[in-house]
Amino acid sequence: MPVPALKISNLRKVYRRGTVAVEDLSLTIPEGEFFGFLGPNGAGKSTTIHCVTGVAEPTQGTIEIFGLDAVKDYREARRLVGLCPQEFNVDPFANPRQIVDWMGGYFGMPARLRKERIDMLMERFDLVSHQKKQFRELSGGLKRRVVLARALVHDPRLIILDEPTAGVDVELRRVLWRYLAEINKDGKTILLTSHYLEEVERLCRQIAIVAKGRIAREGSKDEIAGGPGGLEQAYLVATGAEADHVAGQ
């Protein structure tokens, strides 16, 4: 059986103040998959991603990235992952080129390879004319491009995108969709969270809906979105929002 790109088993995350963000969450994403991870705000999506990438410490459970334990073999596991976070966790005084270059450096990329890769990414994301500006001077859309380029600089096998198109204009969103579809076709595994159901429906083949820290529903896109009311209805039912809505009427 091939090693999955990501295998999360019984993940539980309790924050220091006692908030239970993730409760017994299990998930397997095969290599090459385009996986949609849906759920309302506070459902535990970002916390799960933070546990996978090392930004948060899991309280219980195991996470394997291409068979490597994300906690015990964290260095080896992290080499394989690229994270585009929801928030701009970037030095605001640095310029896009520096930001991407530093990240490549952290991942051990030699200077020549970094340059080649950064040149390509700057061009690909139309950042060439902005690459020497401070990050804080850029528009929201340009900032989003920078963090995306940063996530891709080391050519990761598993790309985690936490709401990558939030606050992005229609043009960039579409360009991004095409790019993601292209790299997924090339074999990259992508885990995407988004509040835009259209985006998930367009890109993802597998979908998991998370609610209150647990997987509420998981399956292929056809399976989940194929029913009456499509993905939106499935989402509302899985997250309990539909029941709440009916109860409120």
């Binding site: 090392g54 450096g105 991942f107 030699p110």
Partner: protein, 278 residues
Amino acid sequence: MTPMAVETPMTAEALATMDLNKPLGVNWIGLFTMVRREVSRMMRVPIQAFIAPWISALLFIFIFGAVVGSRITQIGGHRYLEFVLPGIIMMNVINAAFLQSSSAIYFSRFIRFVEEILVAPLSYVEMIAGSLSVVVLRASVTGVGILVMGLAFGATHIHSWPLFLFWVASVSGVFGLLGIIVGLWSKSFEQLNMPVVFFLTPLSMVGGVFNTVAMLPDWLRWLAWANPFFYFINGIRGSMIGFDETPPGLGIGLTLLLLTVLGVTVWRLYSKGYGLRE
């Protein structure tokens, strides 16, 4: 945005370099990148990082050399300025080291770009070594800059270069580690500045910068012996003018012990994710 085209392929050599099946050794490039990044951040504020301590030291040289120094008798056969200058260097080394590490870690937590390091394949030792390298660099440039001014004005000399470098590097390491702990602990800029106001400045002022232990009243001498800053200042003074008030090896032993204890503490904090991970 550029139309989607075929992505530039990574070269075979590049792919070999990035061989993901190869076990990870020391991430030298990552370590060097941490240094490059912090140096770039430091160079955004050259006045704060270097010019301010150098100007302040220059004023000390002027006041203790030309104004006050001429009215004070020699201490241990040395002019007062010669006696004071090593302490001034050490005070600036301590400040530079502490401010560099505490502000770097706090700023990166505050803006959350510390997550760039957390998601990277860097070991905790590499993360700490990367931070400390810049600390030692900044403290050394600050200290050596003041020394050069002292030498230029004939205000000092060097008795032992290896010992001088040992004291600059080891003490900046101690305060770099201490700065990391404070940077991890602080939840506000107010907390970040507290140790400087209540701990660093007072202890260095009473740590023998301006006086010998013998100049203190008997009942107050224990304060000097109990103050670690005294050993640092005394140590660098010994390396510069050969004037040493402590038993041989005591200051070096204490400094190495502090480096070890603080190093292990910081490593434990990193491995637990204290102040770093949610």
